[in-house]
């Protein structure tokens, strides 16, 4: 009994120590999906994260004077992970949408890109709802592109396929299993420039739609209002100081600065 108490005491002391450690360095856990999403976030074979969002994130964290720690989560469970406090911030090309704003809050947008229809070269295709009747239309689930398709293409007669990851969708579109996919224009040009996507071409941009929202922001828990304030100020500062432009020029030919 006595030794049991002693062990328990030791464990308590350890727990207290561990706790003070945590207090000394309150690292923000930044959620990124494990699969690469170039040029926004990708992981090298040595395990190093890089990309536009990662660079921007590092500058933001420096600006906010907080320690940030990238935590990998599954994309399709990324919002529940935030709510379950497995992560504190989603910084993973998460578009700001009214649906999502019901559940989480967002920082102000830190980039905006159009959505692009992409299909195999030579195939005549009109990406309007009427033109896609009977075609297989692929889109990654839990994206604003998916909500757009679900709402605007529901009556189109297109066979809509939802994919868990953009990787799988890219592969299936290149393989001709999907006639046309809707995805982020920047990610699309990246993929079309690669060897795997060489047989693909743009079939046009999707019209600007309120469903797509004002752009991409950092996803935060609703109760973390102070953190949102910090992010907003830091984003503004980076854009004003020109740091934002330096970072984005490394990755894009066109500006992705939020309007």
């Amino acid at each position: 009994m006595k030794s049991g108490m002693r062990i328990l005491g030791g464990m308590l002391a350890l727990a207290v120590l561990a706790n003070t450690n945590a207090l000394a360095a309150p690292a923000l856990k930044i959620g990124l999906a494990a699969e690469p999403y170039p040029p926004f976030s990708m992981k090298s074979s040595s395990g190093q994260w890089s990309g536009f969002e990662v660079d921007l994130l590092n500058s933001l964290c420096k600006e906010m004077k907080v320690q940030c720690q990238i935590t990998e989560v599954a994309w399709d469970g990324i919002i529940p992970s935030l709510q379950g406090k497995k992560i504190d911030v989603i910084f993973n090309s998460l578009s700001i949408t009214p649906d999502r704003q019901k559940v989480i809050s967002f920082s102000k947008p830190y980039y905006y890109t159009d959505a692009m229809f992409v299909g195999t070269k030579g195939q005549k295709l009109d990406p309007s709802p009427a033109g896609l009747r009977g075609k297989i239309l692929g889109v990654q689930g839990s994206t604003s592109h998916a909500s757009f398709i679900a709402k605007r293409y529901a009556q189109s007669g297109a066979n809509v396929k939802y994919y868990n990851t953009q990787d799988e969708l890219n592969a299936d579109t290149a393989a001709g299993r999907v006639d046309v996919m809707l995805l982020d224009a920047l990610a699309a040009s990246e993929f079309m420039a690669s060897k795997a996507g060489a047989n693909l071409e743009s079939k046009g941009l999707a019209p600007r739609d309120p469903i797509f929202g004002p752009g991409v922001g950092a996803g935060l828990r609703k109760q973390d209002a102070a953190l949102k304030q910090q992010f907003d100020t830091a984003i503004d500062k980076l854009i004003k100081s020109g740091q934002y432009d330096t970072i984005q020029k490394k990755y894009f030919k066109v500006s992705v600065a939020p309007k």
Binding site: D76, P80, D99, Y162, N164, R177
Partner: protein
């Protein structure tokens, strides 16, 4: 608990249920026929056929079903996509669909697992009955059709019921290759409503009900048998 999404997703849920049932029926019936062949193949006196059946069983039972589905969909499927002639042909609408790759993978899996079960069942039929049939001058095919196979299947009914339920649950892997089966639709609902547990609870109940229906069906079949089996 928030089930307000149910009305909006009723139609896709129904289609998803049909997809799951189609997968189940196609792979159960095709797989069963394959399994009978494998079962007899395992008992064959020709060494090559016996070896082939054994290797097949080992291959199927030794690799995860998910890996088999991926090999079919991404491996076999990527061979087809580089054949322009095939891409222009009437077959392409089928060959591009994940559904048929999953159906094929499930069929092969049933063939492997059930084949071994059927082999055991075939061995368990009393030799005397087969010898009696032969003594009466029955040709081999007729013995198989009238006595050997029916006796085996009667004895195996409880096992077959279990295998059918296992197969039902295996169909959930279809959602990994963008097939909108019951699990696929639950993922879609979660993606669009950000609710995790409600859609999962609903489809868990669906699978449970289907499993109970399958077991009931087999039970009825067992009760209808011409004799109580005491093997």
């Amino acid at each position: 608990m928030d089930f307000s999404w149910f009305a909006e997703f009723r139609q896709p849920l129904w289609l998803a249920l049909l997809t799951t049932l189609q997968l189940l029926l196609i792979s159960a019936s095709a797989g069963f026929l394959l399994a009978v062949l494998v079962g007899f193949g395992r008992l064959s006196r020709q060494p090559f056929i016996a070896w082939l059946s054994l290797s097949y069983t080992n291959l199927i039972r030794g690799t995860p079903l998910l890996v088999q589905i991926y090999v079919m969909y991404y491996g076999l499927g990527s061979l087809f996509q580089d054949m322009p002639a095939l891409r222009e042909s009437w077959l392409w609408p089928y060959l591009r669909e994940g559904f048929w790759y999953v159906a094929l993978a499930l069929t092969l899996s049933v063939g492997g697992y059930l084949g071994e079960v059927i082999r055991g069942g075939l061995r368990a039929v009393p030799k005397g009955e087969l010898e009696a049939a032969r003594a009466l001058g029955m040709p081999h095919r007729l013995i198989v059709r009238r006595i050997w196979l029916p006796r085996t299947l009667y004895a195996l009914l409880p096992t077959l019921s279990g295998e059918a339920v296992m197969l039902l649950k295996s169909t959930a892997l279809a959602s990994t290759v963008a097939v909108m089966d019951v699990l696929g639709i639950a993922n879609l609902i979660r993606n669009q409503t950000f609710l995790t547990y409600e859609p999962l609870l609903l489809i868990a109940t669906l699978y449970l009900v289907l499993a109970i229906l399958i077991e009931r069906g087999f039970k009825r079949l067992e009760n209808r048998l011409p004799f109580r089996n005491a093997l």
